[in-house]
């Protein structure tokens, strides 16, 4: 049992030496946690935690005005991990910065936890910001403070007494796995460690929302994995809603429940990962999801081109191979871009069919049987 105890439980357990009498304490903590988790889950059925309504943002620089956000509407549910993806300059950063009003919307409403952020006084806004954590691509740690002092920082801002703040900060550093680095200065930490400190810092005030602006973009793939795993764990354990901004598909695939695609200041698609990745409707989305794709016109040859769409239902059957075997004719795979998400295959593939109409018909029948979505390519 000992080894399955986590963080605070283990501490209590160890401190009490595991006496029978004190097992109750551990159980108590455990029950409390379960209870809170339950409560959070019931909260999820309540109104969305973040509502972005008719959001517009224009920047004026001298003569020019840049429209950074054009009529954005998004609702983010309690407890979800919501991804926002788009190419560089699409307006993603501006969008998250509007959520905590680091950027003042030109028009529209931002409602966070039933509070209209745009209507708050400065004092109320500061209070509201304390219930939202934010992490950044560049970590943005205070360079003259140790890891522990960095985590204490938001607590100091909120007026928590120093000694209390320190205890809480230590807990958080334990959560992010950096207990041994509490006295290290940022310059002595690796990128991944810095981001862990930043995450601990963002969580210090027990925020309901964690905003992440390209939080993993400065990290190598392995470190990215570990940070994403940490975020996922925090989402599940603490029920904190996470908004992730990224230009990397992988990040979205791995941890997001829903995704919004922003292209040229507009929201072009929004839906579950399955919906959006299976069947991107807009060209902007396709371009983002399949950057190498869409060059069909280059293919030459007599046979028809067919685009197959994999929606995650055909994992365990080798579709193409079976089709070739069954119909007794080879096909030419002109292009393929598929992704494995949650062990399901998503993506699309372009194949060139043989010249023989009868064979083609057999192949189409086979695809129908297998319920593969397909369409003819020009």
């Amino acid at each position: 049992m000992y080894c399955t105890l986590k963080g605070p439980y283990r501490k209590i357990w160890a401190k009490q030496g595991g006496t029978t009498k004190q097992i109750a304490l551990v159980l108590d903590e455990f029950i409390k946690d379960v209870f809170f988790a339950q409560e959070r889950r019931t909260n999820m059925s309540k109104s969305p935690i973040i509502q972005i309504q008719n959001l517009n943002k224009t920047f004026k620089s001298g003569e020019n005005t840049v429209m950074a956000l054009d009529n954005i509407n998004i609702s983010i549910e309690r407890g979800e991990i919501f991804g926002i993806i788009g190419l560089s300059g699409a307006g993603k950063s501006t969008l998250v910065r509007c959520i905590n009003l680091l950027e003042k919307p030109t028009s529209g409403r931002i409602i966070v936890d039933e509070q209209d952020m745009t209507k708050l006084s400065e004092r109320e806004l500061r209070k509201a910001r304390q219930s939202m954590g934010m992490i950044f691509q560049g970590f943005n740690l205070l360079m003259q403070r140790t890891a522990l002092e960095n985590v204490c920082f938001p607590l100091e801002l909120a007026g928590v007494p120093k000694s209390k703040a320190k205890i809480r900060a230590k807990e958080l550093l334990e959560v992010v796995g950096l207990t041994d680095k509490e006295n290290a200065y940022p310059v002595q930490l690796s990128g991944g460690q810095k981001q862990r400190v930043a995450i601990a810092r963002a969580l210090a005030t027990n925020p309901k929302v964690l905003l992440c602006d390209e939080a993993t973009s400065a990290l190598d793939p392995t470190t990215t994995q570990s940070i994403l795993a940490l975020l996922k764990e925090l989402n599940q354990k603490l029920g904190v809603t996470i908004v992730i901004i990224t230009h990397e598909m992988k990040v979205i695939e791995q941890i997001c429940h829903r995704v919004a695609i922003i292209a040229e200041s507009r929201l072009v698609e929004l839906g579950t990962i399955d919906e959006v990745f299976r069947n991107p409707k807009t060209t902007a989305a396709k371009k983002l999801l399949y950057p190498q794709g869409e060059h069909v016109e280059k293919f030459t040859g007599k046979g028809k081109f067919l685009r197959l769409v994999f929606d995650g239902s055909s994992t365990d059957r080798p579709i193409i191979a079976n089709m070739v075997l069954k119909c007794g004719a080879p096909v030419n795979i002109a292009f393929a871009d598929t992704k494995n998400i949650d062990d399901k295959i998503f993506g699309h593939m372009i194949i060139q069919l043989p010249d023989n109409p009868a064979t083609v018909q057999r192949m189409l029948n086979y695809l129908d049987e297998e319920q593969i979505t397909y369409g003819e390519e020009e």
């Binding site: 905590n100 806004l125 209070k127 954590g133 934010m134 950044f136 943005n140 740690l141 920082f153 801002l157």
Partner: protein, 220 residues
């Protein structure tokens, strides 16, 4: 050889110079530090942009900075008299020294604060920091090494000014250099004065650099 009276005089001059320099620098920082912070904060890219305040304060700073010290020294004599009661001696010299160096200090402070990473300021705002909290919990501590380095520069500049004030009876090493080294052509006195001034500048600069490095946690 220098007479023992001369050495006695130089010793007093040295103490006077140190007294003027240290007190003036201190007072200049009491004024210049908040003004420098104000200039940064109210800048159009600052955390609380305020064009009017920024331009008025910035304007005053620029005007004071553009008056050559030797002219300012004479020009502010009425003010000095009003405050100290006399315009002669090292205490009186502190007044023009402060008036001349506070705007300089303000700019030095402003430029140190500008080195603070925008991202860090942004992050603290995102955590709900007020403008004042950003100033004293982020800007000053994060810029501290640079502020200390700047203070060393300010101190040595003020030391130079204090020597100049010797021309109008400001006291200290400057006065001795002018009275003995220049008017009485005692080149040995002049030489010792120059050597002493160079030495003090070196010491202040070295100490400043050392403390600045010592407190900078960005150095591994």
């Amino acid at each position: 050889m220098l007479s023992s009276d001369m050495i006695q005089l130089m010793w007093i001059g040295l103490l006077e110079t140190l007294y003027m320099t240290v007190v003036s620098t201190f007072v200049a920082y009491i004024i210049g530090l908040p003004v420098g912070l104000l200039l940064y904060v109210t800048d159009k890219d600052g955390i609380k942009p305020h064009t009017a305040i920024n331009q008025i304060v910035g304007g005053i700073v620029n005007i004071l900075r553009s008056v050559p010290f030797i002219i300012l020294l004479v020009a502010v004599i009425p003010i000095t008299r009003a405050i100290v009661g006399t315009s002669i001696g090292s205490t009186a010299t502190i007044v023009p020294l402060v008036i001349a160096s506070a705007p300089f200090v303000a700019r030095v402070v402003e430029s140190s604060i500008k080195e603070v990473d925008r991202g860090v300021i942004e992050a603290s705002l995102s955590m709900g920091a007020s403008t004042l909290q950003v100033v004293y919990k982020v800007l000053v501590p994060e810029a501290l090494p640079s502020l200390i380095f700047g203070a060393a520069i300010a101190t040595t500049t003020i030391l130079g000014y204090s020597a100049m004030s010797g021309f109008v009876g400001g006291g200290g090493l400057g006065t001795i250099a002018i009275n003995y080294g220049y008017y009485r052509s005692q080149s040995d006195v002049m030489l010792v004065m120059v050597a002493l001034l160079v030495l003090i500048v070196q010491i202040f600069q070295e100490i400043g650099t050392w403390i600045s490095k010592k407190c900078d946690k960005r150095i591994k």
